[in-house]
C-alpha cells in the first residue's frame, strides 16, 4: 500500500487509532460503513484518476485495506485484480 492510498483511506476510519494500517485491517471494524464506502470509492477514483472495474464492485474488495489496495494497484499496473474471473474471489 502506498502512502497516498493510506492518506486517502485513513479519514474514513473513525475507529482507527495511532499505528500502521495493515493489509489485513478490517475496514468495517475500523468504522467504514456501507454508505461511507461510497465516498471512499469516489475519493480513491479521484485521487488516482481511475475507475475500479465492475468485477471489483463487491463487499470482498472493501473488506480489508489490502483487498482494496490490490484492486487499485491492479488498475494502476494494468494487471488483473483479485476480483478478476478465475481468481476465486467473490
Amino acid at each position: 500500500m502506498d502512502e497516498r492510498f493510506t492518506a486517502v483511506l485513513l479519514p474514513f476510519l473513525k475507529f482507527h487509532t495511532d499505528g500502521p494500517l495493515e493489509p489485513e485491517s478490517d475496514l468495517r471494524g475500523l468504522g467504514l460503513d456501507s454508505m461511507q464506502a461510497i465516498d471512499l470509492l469516489f475519493a480513491i477514483e479521484d485521487a488516482y484518476g481511475i475507475s475500479l472495474p465492475d468485477e471489483a464492485m463487491n463487499d470482498t474488495t472493501f473488506a480489508t485495506a489490502g483487498n482494496l489496495w490490490k484492486e487499485v494497484s491492479a488498475v494502476l499496473t494494468g494487471q488483473p485484480g483479485a476480483a478478476a474471473p478465475g481468481t476465486g474471489a467473490a
Partner: protein, 402 residues
Amino acid sequence: MSDTRYAPPPGPDTQARPGDANTTPVPDAPDAPGTGFAGRLRRALEPLPDDAGAADVWRALGRGGITAALYASGHPAGPVELDRLGALLAALDARGDNGVTLSVLVQTASALPLLANAPGERCATARARVLAGDARVALAATDEGAPGSDLTALTTRVAVRGGQLALDGGKRWITNALGAGYLLVLARQRPGRHFTGFSWVLVPADTPGVTVTPADTSLLARSGTGHLRFDGVRLTPDHMVGRPGRALADFARHMATERIAGAYWAVALTSRVLRATQDRLAHRVADGRPLWQNPVVRRDFAACLVRVTQLRALLDTVTRRVTADRDLAWAGLLKAAVGLEADAVLSRCAELQGADGMAADGAHRIRAEAAVLGIGGGATDLMLAQVADRAETFLDVLGAHP
C-alpha cells in the same frame, strides 16, 4: 461571478449520447432582455392556470426548453446549472403549490441525472420524452421493506431469469408515482448490505405487474405521491440502468444536487411565508396598534429572518464547496440545516399568524408540507449523524484563518 455548475464526481457513463434530444448547448448568460433563462422561464410558466398540476407544469417546462437548459450541455449528463435550478424552484414556489414544486425538484435534480447513465435506445427514448415534458419519471428508492434512512436494507429485488429481468417488491411514498410514465426503481441484486449489491431498473409504468396506489395523505396533493408494487414484473435486460454494482454510488453522486436544490426551495418557501406573515402582522390590530409594532412579535420575526438569511449564506458556501471540492459531506450539512431551520421558521410564522394560520392553505399547512424537506432524501437526524462523522472536516474549516 463564481461558477455554480455542479459536475458530480465523474462516472464512466455520463457522456451525452448521439440521438439524445435537446443536446444543443444553452448560452449561460441572457442574450437580450427576455431571451435569457429568466425570460424563457417566465414565458413557460405565465400561460399556465394557477391550479395547473404537475403534468401540465412539467410539459410547459419541457416544451419551453427550461428542463434541458438546467444542464450545461442541454443533457442531464452534463453539469447542473445550480443557479438556474434555484431560479426555477423559486419561480415554482411563487405559484404556491408545494406538491408541484416537489415533483419538479425530484425529477430535475435526481431522476433525470440518474437516467443519463442509461445506455441503449430504450433508455434514450425515455430520457428524451422526459426532457421534452412528454412524460414524467418517478424516482423509486424508499422501500416497503426498509425505512428510507436505511436504503441498504431494502427488499425489492431484481434477478436475471431466462434472459429477462424479474422485478418483485414494493416502494412507498414515492413522489410522481401517480401519473409518471417511467419508474426508476432501486432494487437489490445481491444479498447483504454492501453498497455494491444494488441496481437501478427503468420500468415503464404500464408494464404488467406494476400497481400504483395513492398515498393516504392530503399533503402535497399534486406531487403524485403514491405507493408502488411490483409483482412478477418481467423486462428485457436493456431496462437496467448504469454499471453493475454502482447504483448507490450513482445515487450518492447526484445527491448533492438534490440537497442544494432542496435548500434553494427552502429559502424561497420560508421567504414567501415570512413576507406573508409580515403582511398579516401589519394589518392585524391589537390594542389599537398593528401587531407588527409589538416588540415581542418583531423580535421573533427578526429571529426568523436571521435564520433564513443564515440558511441562504450557507447555501452559497456549500455550493462553492461542493462545486469546487466535490466534497459531498457539505451537502449533508446543508440538508441538516434545511431540516432544522425551515421547520423552526415556518412553525414560528404559523404561530405569529394566529388563527389565520389555520386557513385551508395557511401557514400551518405549509409547515406540515415543508416537513418533507427534513424527511425526503435523507432525514435530518441521519444528516446530523453524518455531520458528526465528519466533525473534524467542518471544524478545520471553521477554525481556519485566511
